[in-house]
């Protein structure tokens, strides 16, 4: 099975993970349809 992007869905969760990992956030505002 092909790998997929493991998108986070909560801003606070992503910022916390970014601080821990020392990584920026890739924030994608999308149209869920």
């Amino acid at each position: 099975m092909a790998a997929k992007i493991q998108w986070r869905t909560e801003m606070d969760d992503a910022l916390c993970l970014g601080q821990k990992a020392g990584k920026p956030i890739l924030l994608d505002f999308f149209n869920p349809g």
Binding site: A3, I5, A14, P24, D28, F29
Partner: protein, 150 residues
């Protein structure tokens, strides 16, 4: 993006290696207001302190998304005064995606990074010369024009 770009394996690995990926609906309050989102996709490089460093609006294929994200990583470092790290990102962009739409801005900012590191204006002039040859019609070549007078 979901049909073409995000399933691409090199896109998946690049994003997972370099970012915490976060997806929000375009009407997700309060963030759609905070970031003034008016169209999708709006793709933002955000620091872990929630500061915006780079933004694109509209579809990008894999061959443009990765260099755009490299530009975002470089600008994230640049705007935090980590010029060596920024320069490495811009050079990575130039080496792998030198004819992408993000390349001219990376050349421009490479010159600025080198100037910031050395306080020697020569890299600014070199950036203009490189831009004028490789990207004569780019807005970044026009923005760098004054450096040819240095």
């Amino acid at each position: 993006m979901d049909a073409v770009t995000y399933p691409e394996s090199k896109v998946v690995s690049f994003i997972e290696e370099n970012f915490i990926p976060l997806r929000l609906g375009f009407d997700s309050k309060p963030y759609s207001d905070t970031f003034n989102v008016k169209w999708t996709p709006t793709i933002i490089t955000l620091s872990p302190e929630a500061q915006e460093h780079h933004r694109t609006v509209g579809f990008l294929g894999p061959e443009e998304l990765i260099p755009s994200l490299l530009l975002g990583l470089g600008k994230y470092a640049f705007e935090n005064d980590r010029f060596a790290e920024a320069l490495a990102r811009f050079e990575q962009l130039g080496a792998g995606y030198g004819i992408s739409d993000s390349a001219p801005e990376a050349v421009f900012l490479s010159g600025v990074c080198r100037y910031k590191q050395s306080h020697d204006p020569k890299p600014l002039k070199e950036a203009y010369e490189k831009l004028s040859v490789a990207f004569p019609d780019s807005e970044w070549t026009k923005r760098a024009y004054p450096y040819c007078l240095l």
